[in-house]
């Protein structure tokens, strides 16, 4: 079987399994998995930049939040329907990633990390500053009536799960398609050896900017969907913790693999879920896992699969 066919089977099987789980999972885990799929979409967006292009951002919460507020603000204040609001969330993410990317990509290395962190902090503070519209930390709650998309009531658990699955599947296939296209292969080349890629005649800056916009827009899609599916947009989603989490998910699941973000988000979600049953200090687990991964398994789960089972894992 060719690598392409294998990849199609593997990722198709994941989507089919998630669909099958819709009918068998108990309510609690059913709800969790819906959440995980949206968060995994966010992680896939992050992975496009970190895993495939080799750019470590510490500010992706700004894109997630751009999608979330780009959707929730028009719904709350302008009475927009969820469909157009979803699009305005995407547009907000695309625009912000274009501007932030064009500026941040003038820096390299550690400065890039700090600049993205600072931009995200500015966005977070902006959400707090305009409390009159955003309701700051308390956030905006979307009413049931505001969450009916094309006749589908997204506050219903079953509809919500399937909507999350559609979002996840579309972004999974998009990721897969993107990294197998010439554009994605150039991103990988930039990750591996930027100077060489440039001396092959590739416009490195333009490709990186393209990666930031693709990554930021996918993250915004996850943010907008999260707000719509779970009926809430709060400032905490713009905070630094939501910039760190996708990094953790992708590191754990395997940076630069299409399936890694889902695995990482799933494991982390249940790890935190279980730990928070014992202590309020559950974020300590996040810290320990981050350190342990960096020290002992920098390639994550996906990297191990690639090393032991199938080198061609995309």
């Amino acid at each position: 079987m060719s690598d392409g066919a294998k990849a199609a089977v593997l990722h198709g099987a994941l989507i089919a399994a998630l669909f099958a789980l819709h009918f068998v999972l108990p309510a609690y885990h059913h709800g969790n998995l819906a959440r995980v799929m949206v968060l995994a979409t966010y992680a896939m967006g992050y992975n496009l930049l970190f895993g495939y292009t080799g750019l470590l951002s510490l500010g992706h919460a700004m894109f997630f939040a751009a999608g979330m507020y780009g959707m929730a603000l028009p719904v709350t204040h302008l009475g927009w329907a969820p469909g157009p609001a979803l699009l305005s969330g995407l547009a907000a993410g695309a625009l912000l990633s274009l501007v932030a990317g064009a500026l941040a990509l003038r820096t390299v290395g550690v400065a890039f990390l700090i600049v993205t962190l600072m931009f995200a902090q500015a966005v977070y503070l902006t959400v707090l500053y305009f409390a009159e519209w955003t309701n700051a930390d308390d956030g905006l709650v979307l009413q049931r009536a505001e969450r009916v998309l094309w006749g589908l009531d997204l506050s219903d658990a079953g509809v919500r799960y399937l909507a999350a699955l559609v979002l996840f599947s579309v972004c999974l296939v998009l990721s897969l398609w993107l990294v197998r296209r010439p554009f994605g292969k150039v991103l990988i080349a930039i990750r591996e050896n930027e100077a060489r890629a440039e001396m092959l005649g590739y416009d490195v800056f333009a490709h990186k900017l393209g990666a930031v916009v693709a990554s930021g827009t996918m993250s915004a899609a996850a943010g907008a969907a999260y707000g719509l599916l779970f009926g809430y947009a709060g400032a905490s989603f713009a905070g630094v913790q939501y910039s760190i989490l996708p990094l953790l998910w992708v590191l754990l699941g395997g940076a630069g693999t299409v399936i890694g973000p889902f695995l990482g988000a799933l494991f982390t979600f249940y790890l935190i879920d279980i730990t928070s049953g014992f202590t309020t200090a559950y974020m300590a687990v996040v810290g320990v896992v981050l350190i342990a991964l960096t020290l002992f398994a920098p390639q994550g789960i996906g990297g191990e699969i690639r090393r032991r089972v199938w080198r061609g894992l995309p």
Binding site: V110, V115, A284, G287
Partner: protein, 322 residues
């Protein structure tokens, strides 16, 4: 750090503008003093080890929490507990940081990006362990002395300039002590770097780690020492501020952000630049918040820092390329 300027400003509504500004400047000077200590710690680590320590704010927080612990364990007169805290808390935090350097940072080879990731991990571990043990409460440390000092202001009366004491325009002996103590410690760091053998070794490592190794400098120990010293300075800054603020497990976020801002504005790794920038940011933070909401001031400061990094990476005061 929660800015003392705003707390004081809240009490003096109705004060005239001149005295108000003077009060804001004084409070800003306290912020600047503590910020300078904290930021110099971050700057030392960046300058010598070429890594960014994201857990720096947690070392600050740990200093404050340990200060509370030491002070309450000693009991007796407030001064005894405070002096014990000022000695023990930075030592303990410094030792812990050196340990983290040897066990974690060394093992990622001080790779800039991986160091950032592991120090983020360290940030959560320290913060959450403090939450588990010390709890979510905010607790104060009693200052060793705290006399209120009323301050005069000049007013043009009918018979020329005259001094008067506006209501609310005051500071405390402890706040003046914080400013003085920070200045003394900064001078000591300067002397250490410029006029001691340790300083020579540190500067040699800063210039070229590999070359230093060739010349027999134990670079690994230098790194552990530097990381410990940087954390200890943050802890000392926190010990000085806990009698004014309270110790809380989430208090590390703002000092981290402000130290970042200061170190970047001052020119990465430059000590004099860092101190100048700390004064600028600390003082202006007090004064700006007179005119703007503190959140807006923070937004502007954050964006300023990002743009400085984008367009002028050597810092506003630096001249060499970073």
């Amino acid at each position: 750090m929660r800015l003392p300027g705003r707390a004081a400003a809240g009490n003096v509504a109705g004060m005239e503008f001149g005295p108000y500004l003077m009060l804001a400047t004084l409070e800003g000077a306290v912020t600047a003093a503590v910020l300078a200590l904290t930021a110099v710690g971050l700057s030392l680590v960046f300058g010598i080890m070429r890594v960014v320590n994201v857990a720096h704010g947690e070392f600050f927080m740990l200093g404050a929490v340990l200060a509370w612990w030491v002070a309450s364990w000693f009991g007796g007169h407030a001064a005894i507990g405070f002096v014990a805290a000022a000695v023990l808390a930075p030592l303990l935090v410094g030792a812990l940081a050196a340990l983290a350097d040897v066990t974690v940072l060394k093992r990622v080879d001080y790779d800039p990006e991986r160091t950032i990731v592991v120090t983020i991990g360290l940030l959560y571990v320290i913060q959450q362990v403090v939450l588990m043990t010390y709890g979510p409460e905010a607790r104060p440390v009693e200052p060793p002395f705290n006399a209120r000092l009323a301050l005069p202001w000049v007013e043009w009366g009918e018979s020329g300039p005259a001094l008067y004491w506006p209501w609310g325009l005051s500071t405390t002996s402890y706040k003046l002590f914080v400013i003085g103590a920070a200045a003394v410690v900064l001078a000591a760091v300067w002397l250490l770097m410029r006029h001691t053998r340790i300083g020579l070794v540190l500067r040699a490592t800063q210039m070229d780690g590999e070359m230093a190794q060739v010349f027999g400098i134990p670079v690994e120990r230098v790194y552990a020492f530097t990381f410990g010293l940087g954390a200890a300075l943050a802890a000392l800054g926190a010990v000085l501020i806990v009698p004014i603020q309270q110790a809380h497990y989430l208090m590390g976020g703002d000092p981290l952000l402000l130290s970042f801002i200061v170190v970047i504005i001052g020119g990465l790794g430059s000590l004099p630049g860092t101190v100048v920038a700390a004064l600028l940011i600390g003082l202006s933070d007090g004064i700006i918040s007179v005119f703007f909401s503190p959140t807006l001031a923070k937004i502007l400061a954050t964006l300023l820092v990002a743009l400085v990094l984008v367009f002028r990476p050597q810092g506003l005061f630096g001249t060499r390329a970073a």
